[in-house]
Symmetry: C2
DNA sequence: CTACTTGCAAATGCTTTGCAAAATT
DNA sequence: AATTTTGCAAAGCATTTGCAAGTAG
């Protein structure tokens, strides 16, 4: 993935820097997590690396542009990012527990159907989607009903 | 709807005020639109009513709590709100044009199926969802390909 | 009269930006 | 050497909050 980052940067005449590679590394090593800028900085500090917040903001924006990250918005006022897995054929959706905030990723078989239904009904070309489901995770369900 | 607002406010021992009713009125008269706080203030000013932004923020939060409004997040850093139509049996989804920003509401028949699929697969109790589809609307499609 | 609500201005919190110093090409 | 990137501090912007004055019950 680092090689791909380097070649993308070259293609766009942007520079290869240690900061950009480290930030991508954090995401590669945190698969399945959804990190905000603050958390990226914390992960970096855990590895004894200090990169300024401004640089992290600029790097994640660039990484989204280059297609390495996807920007997520769970409605808590913080933009979070996740790595885009290029081997992933299907998209995934997020299921979020309203009590503990835990996020599960799933892969519904129905999504392709829904997308073609919508594009037929509306005439839009659907390029992208953002599907979130909110509710109670099994643990919180148990905790709340069990006592 | 105003009567329902009054009775909900009474039930929760919150006060009935002209500001709260006016803000609800704006939404009732803007069905199908997705207003942010700034736009609500502008609509009020169009009617020669001045309500402070702080009050609008507090009112929409209350109206969401009471179930009259739904908070939306289209990822542009602004919370928008839409009226909750209680006669509406089905939920609706938003289809957003990435060029002109136009938002179409649709009602997919597949949503119920996807929700039950997800709740089976994950064990979550799904209470709510937020489904957005991004792409090109027919107009922008024509404009972009046609020249 | 009491408690809630409003409006203002200030504060907050995330994100962006200007600029000089540092790093890449 | 030229140009981009970084880090810092300041600015920006939507939203929230403290508080005195106003209003509903």
């Amino acid at each position: 993935m680092y090689e791909e980052l380097r070649s993308e940067l070259k293609k766009r005449k942007r520079r290869i820097t240690a900061q950009r590679e480290m930030i991508l590394k954090i995401f590669l090593e945190s698969k399945g997590r959804h990190l905000g800028v603050e958390e990226v900085c914390r992960e970096l500090l855990n590895r004894n690396i200090r990169i300024s917040k401004a640089t992290v903001y600029r790097a994640v924006e660039l990484l989204v542009d280059l297609g390495f990250l996807r920007r997520l918005n769970f409605g808590d006022g913080i933009y979070r990012y996740e790595i885009v897995d290029r081997s992933e054929v299907e998209s995934h959706q997020h299921v979020i527990c309203r009590v503990c905030g835990k996020i599960k990723e799933i892969n519904s078989e129905m999504v392709k159907k829904i997308v073609s239904e919508i594009s037929e009904k509306t005439g839009y070309i659907i390029e992208n989607h953002d599907l979130k489901f909110y509710g109670l995770c099994p643990d919180c369900k148990r905790r709340l009903s069990g006592g």
